[in-house]
C-alpha cells in the first residue's frame, strides 16, 4: 500500500445528538481542567499537572469513533482522555489530589491513571513510551482477533523520539490495528515544532513505513470525527495503522509551573477568540436550531455541578492508608 493522503470517503455527518454529546463532553473536559488548575493553585494538587484546555475537540472527536473493547493510551496530558473514555470525574479528580478514592488509590497522580474497564491504559510519564505500549495493545487486539483498535495519542514533542518510528515500523510490518493520533499543539514544552522538527508536516512521519497520513483540523470536533473515520475503519478492518496529525493548541502552559514565555499573549488570545472548539460548536448548535441559549445554559449548569461534586469528593476523600505504601508492588504468584 503506497502512502497516500486522502480524505475520508463517505464518513457519516454527525447527528444532532452527536453534536450535543460533543458539546457536553468538551465542556466537561474544559471545566474539569479549569477546576484542576484552581485546586492546583490552592495546593490541593501537587507535582506536575498538565492541562488539556484548548485540545478538547481532538479526543472527543476521535473517541466518537471508538467501539466497546477498543483501547486508548496517551502521555501525561491525560485528563481529557480519561473523561472522554467515560472514566468518572470524581475518581480522576481524587487521584489528582492524591486520595484513596482516586483511580490509582492515590499512588499514581495526574500522569499515571488507568481504567481497564474503560479500556484506558494510561497516563504515561515518559515522553513517547506510550507509543510502543499502545502498539502492543494493538498487537493484542490482532492476536485475540477481537476486532479492537488501539488509539495511541502522542504529542508533537514525542514525535521525535526514536521509539515512535520503531513502533511505526512494526505496526506497518504486522498490519496492527493502531491509530496514531499526533496532537500537534505547536510546542513540546517550550520548544516550537519549527525549532524541533526538521520536517514540519507531522502527518507525513509514517510515510517511510508506507503508513497513510492525514492532517486534520483539531480545533473542529466535527472535522476530527469525520476526517478520522476512514483511518479508524481501515485499521479495524485489518489494513494496518494510520498516522493522523491533529492541529490543535493548548491555552495553558506545558504544566502548571510554566510561565509560557516562548509564545506571545497575542498568539494565545487570537487562538482562543477565533478558534475555540467549544465556542464554535456552541454557535453552530444555536445556528442550526439544535439547542437554544437556555438549553445550553442548562448543560453548563449540569457540568458545573458535576465538576463541583468531583472537586468536593476529591477533597473529602481521605489520604491513602499508610499501609498502602507497601501494597501493589507485586501480585501474588
Amino acid at each position: 500500500m503506497a502512502a497516500t493522503r486522502r480524505k475520508a470517503k463517505s464518513a457519516a455527518a454527525p447527528t444532532a445528538d452527536d453534536l450535543k454529546a460533543f458539546y457536553h463532553d468538551m465542556l466537561l473536559i474544559r471545566r474539569f481542567e479549569e477546576k484542576a488548575g484552581q485546586l492546583y493553585g490552592m495546593g490541593l494538587i501537587g507535582g506536575f499537572c498538565h492541562l488539556y484546555i484548548g485540545q478538547e475537540a481532538v479526543v472527543v472527536g476521535l473517541q466518537a469513533l471508538a467501539k466497546p473493547g477498543d483501547s486508548v493510551i496517551t502521555s501525561y496530558r491525560d485528563h481529557g482522555h480519561m473523561l472522554a473514555t467515560g472514566m468518572d470525574p470524581k475518581g480522576v479528580m481524587a487521584e489528582l489530589t492524591g486520595r484513596r478514592d482516586g483511580y490509582s488509590r492515590g499512588k499514581g497522580g495526574s500522569m499515571h491513571m488507568f481504567s481497564k474497564e474503560k479500556g484506558f491504559y494510561g497516563g504515561h510519564g515518559i515522553v513517547g513510551a506510550q507509543v510502543p505500549l499502545g502498539t502492543g495493545l494493538g498487537f493484542a487486539h490482532k492476536y485475540r482477533g477481537d476486532d479492537g483498535v488501539c488509539f495511541v495519542y502522542l504529542g508533537d514533542g514525542a514525535i521525535n523520539q526514536g521509539q515512535v518510528y520503531e513502533s511505526f515500523n512494526m505496526a506497518a510490518l504486522w498490519k496492527l490495528p493502531v491509530v496514531y493520533v499526533i496532537e500537534n499543539n505547536k510546542y513540546g514544552m517550550g520548544t516550537s515544532v519549527e525549532r524541533a522538527s526538521a520536517t514540519k508536516d507531522l502527518s507525513k512521519r509514517g510515510e517511510s513505513f508506507a503508513i497513510a497520513g492525514l492532517a486534520i483540523n483539531g480545533m473542529d470536533v466535527i472535522a476530527v470525527k469525520t476526517d478520522a473515520e476512514d483511518a479508524v475503519d481501515r485499521a479495524r478492518s485489518g489494513e494496518g495503522p494510520a498516522v493522523l496529525e491533529l492541529k490543535t493548541y493548548r491555552y495553558r502552559g506545558h504544566s502548571m509551573s510554566d510561565p509560557a514565555k516562548y509564545r506571545s499573549k497575542e498568539e494565545v488570545s487570537k487562538m482562543r477568540s477565533e478558534n475555540d472548539p467549544i465556542d464554535h460548536l456552541r454557535q453552530k448548535l444555536i445556528a442550526d436550531g439544535i439547542l437554544d441559549e437556555a438549553a445550553l445554559k442548562e448543560i453548563d449548569k449540569e457540568i458545573k455541578a458535576t465538576v463541583t461534586e468531583a472537586a468536593e469528593y476529591a477533597q473529602n476523600s481521605p489520604e491513602p492508608d499508610p499501609a498502602e505504601l507497601y501494597t501493589d508492588v507485586l501480585l501474588d504468584a
Binding site: E34, K35, G37, Q38, Y40, G41, M42, G43, G47, I73, T97, G98, G102, Y103, S104, R105, G106, K107, G108, H112, F114, S115, K116, Y121, G122, G123, I126, A129, P132, L133, G134, T135, G136, L137, F139, A140, Y143, R144, G162, E166, N169, M170, Y251, M256, S257, P259, K261, A311, Q315, P318, E319, P322, L325, Y326, D328, V329, L330, L331, D332, A333
Partner: protein, 466 residues
C-alpha cells in the same frame, strides 16, 4: 456567595510569592480565563487566571506585596448579580484564609521507618518459612542441556496457555541466535513465535503493552547487553505500572536472554546486569545455573503474574545436567538451593559462578575446609533465610559474582548478613567479583577480569584465617 480568590501555588515547591501586579481593578468585570494578576515565584513570573466569572469586588492584598503565603486571601470576586454588600461580614483582612471550602491535605502520616515492607523478603526474618521448605524430590531424570531445558520450558508453557508467545530477534526462522528457540516456530507457527526487527526499545515496549492487556509475552534479548536500549520499558513501564495504577495493571511478562561474559566479546557484550535489575521493586530477577534450574524456573517465570527478568548465560547453554522427568516439575521463584553442604564457610553464587564455587569447594575440601555452596537461583526476592541459616552454621561467608563489586549482589549479601547474623560472624564477609574495569578483549586479560576457583579458594581461606 462571593468567591474568595486565594494566593495560588504555581509550582510544585512554591510556599509563598510576590503579588507583582493587579491587571484588574475593583469593579472590573472578569470572565473565566482572564488574567487578573501577576505573581512572582522563586522561578518565574506567572499570570494568574480567573476560574469563575463575575466582578472583582475587593483587592485584599495590594500589588507589590512580598512573601504572600499560598492559600491566603488576595481578593474577592462577586458573582453575577451580587452587590458589594454581599461581602459584609467576610474576613477580608488578608492573611491565611480560615474559611475556604477547600481544606489543605492532612499532614502525611508518620514517615515509614523501614526501608522495605514488613512482609518483604528483604526484611529480617521475612520469608523464613518459605525459604526453609525442603525442595520436592524427584526419582527419574533425563540429561538435558541448559539450551534444551529452556526450550522445553517455553514449549510446555506455550502448549498449556494460548496467551503465551515468544518474540525477539532471530527466534523464529533462524531457530534462535543461540538455538534456544529451536523447533518452536515449527510447532507454534508465526503467530506465537515472532521474529522482530532489530528494535529492542520498540519490541520491549510492544510486548509490555500486550502484557498490560493480559497476554503473556516472553521477550528474548539476544543478550542482555542489548536490553540497555529497552531498560526504560522494563523499569518505567513493566515494573512500576502495577503500583502506579493502585494494583489494576498487572504485567505478566518474561524478559530473558544471555547475561554476563561469554568469551572474547569484550566490553559491550560482557556485562552482568543482576544488580541493575535486582535494585528495582516491581521486578523479579532470576538467574539459573543448571538445566534443572533453567527449566523449573523459566516455567515458574512464565506463570508468574509479574515481570520477571531471567538472566541466562551463554557459556552454560551447551552444558548438560539431570532434569526431572515429572511433567509438573517447576521450581519456586525466591528459593535458593544448597548445592553442597559444608560446615566451615558459606559460598554464595549464582549462574555460571555456581560451578566456580563448586570447583573451589572441591579444592578446599582437599585442604580440610568444608564449604557450603548456595546457588541463589533467584536474585530478587533474595532467599535470605537460606543464606542466614547457613552463615549461622559456618560463621563465615564468601560471595561470588561475575559483575562488578560496587553496589553488586555481594554488597547486598554482605549487608544482609551484617543486619541479620552479625553476632554469628567470625570474620568479615568477603566478595569475589569481576574486576572493576570494562571487559578487555585479550584472552589473558579477560581471564584476569573474571572470578576463578583459585580466587574463591583464596577468599575462603582468608575468612577462615588459614
Amino acid at each position: 456567595m462571593p468567591v474568595q480568590i486565594l494566593m495560588p501555588a504555581l509550582s510544585p515547591t512554591m510556599t509563598e510569592g510576590k503579588l507583582a501586579r493587579w491587571l484588574k481593578a475593583e469593579g472590573d468585570a472578569i470572565a473565566a480565563g482572564d488574567v487578573i494578576c501577576e505573581i512572582e515565584t522563586d522561578k518565574a513570573t506567572m499570570e494568574f487566571e480567573a476560574v469563575d466569572e463575575g466582578t472583582l469586588g475587593k483587592i485584599v492584598v495590594p500589588e507589590g506585596t512580598e512573601n504572600v503565603a499560598v492559600n491566603s486571601l488576595i481578593g474577592v470576586l462577586l458573582e453575577e448579580g451580587e452587590e458589594a454588600s454581599a461581602m459584609d461580614g467576610m474576613d477580608t483582612a488578608g492573611g491565611p484564609s480560615q474559611d475556604v471550602t477547600a481544606t489543605a491535605p492532612a499532614k502525611p502520616a508518620e514517615p515509614a521507618r523501614a526501608a522495605v515492607a514488613p512482609d518483604s523478603p528483604l526484611q529480617a526474618g521475612g520469608d523464613a518459612e518459605a525459604g526453609l521448605q525442603e525442595e520436592k524430590q524427584y526419582d527419574s531424570f533425563t540429561k538435558l542441556s541448559v539450551r534444551e531445558a529452556l526450550r522445553d520450558a517455553m514449549a510446555e508453557e506455550m502448549r498449556a496457555n494460548g496467551d503465551v508467545f515468544l518474540l525477539g530477534e532471530e527466534v523464529g526462522q533462524y531457530q534462535g541466535a543461540y538455538k534456544v528457540s529451536q523447533g518452536l516456530l515449527d510447532e507454534f507457527g508465526e503467530k506465537r513465535v515472532i521474529d522482530t526487527p532489530i528494535t529492542e526499545m520498540g519490541f520491549t515496549g510492544l510486548a509490555t503493552g500486550a502484557a498490560f492487556s493480559g497476554l503473556r509475552p516472553i521477550v528474548e534479548f539476544m543478550t542482555f547487553n542489548f536490553a540497555m536500549q529497552a531498560i526504560d520499558h522494563i523499569l518505567n513501564s513493566a515494573a512500576k505500572t502495577l503500583y502506579m495504577s493502585g494494583g489494576q495493571m498487572g504485567c505478566p511478562i518474561v524478559f530473558r536472554g544471555s547475561n554476563g561474559a561469554a568469551s572474547r566479546v569484550a566490553a559491550q557484550h560482557s556485562q552482568c546486569y543482576a544488580s541493575w535489575y535486582a535494585h528495582c521493586p516491581g521486578l523479579k530477577v532470576v538467574s539459573p545455573w543448571s538445566a534443572a534450574d533453567a527449566k523449573g524456573l523459566l516455567k515458574a517465570a512464565i506463570r508468574d503474574p509479574n515481570p520477571v527478568v531471567f538472566l541466562e548465560n551463554e557459556m552454560l547453554y551447551g552444558q548438560t545436567f539431570d532434569v526431572p522427568d515429572d511433567p509438573d516439575f517447576v521450581l519456586p521463584i525466591g528459593k535458593a538451593k544448597i548445592e553442597r553442604a559444608g560446615s566451615d564457610v558459606t559460598i554464595v553464587a549464582f549462574s555460571r559462578m555456581v560451578a566456580v564455587a563448586l570447583e573451589a569447594a572441591a579444592t578446599l575440601a582437599e585442604q580440610g575446609i568444608e564449604a557450603e555452596v548456595i546457588n541463589l537461583r533467584t536474585i530478587r526476592p533474595l532467599d535470605t533465610a537460606t543464606i542466614i541459616r547457613s552463615v549461622q552454621k559456618t560463621n563465615r561467608c564468601v560471595s561470588v559474582e561475575e559483575g562488578w563489586p560496587f553496589a553488586g549482589i555481594g554488597s547486598e549479601i554482605g549487608m544482609t548478613i551484617m543486619e541479620q547474623a552479625f553476632d554469628w560472624l567470625d570474620a568479615p564477609v568477603a566478595r569475589v567479583c569481576g574486576v572493576d574495569v570494562p571487559m578487555p578483549y585479550a584472552a589473558n586479560l579477560e581471564k584476569l577480569a573474571l572470578p576463578t576457583p583459585e580466587g574463591v579458594v583464596e577468599a575462603a581461606k582468608g575468612v577462615c584465617y588459614k
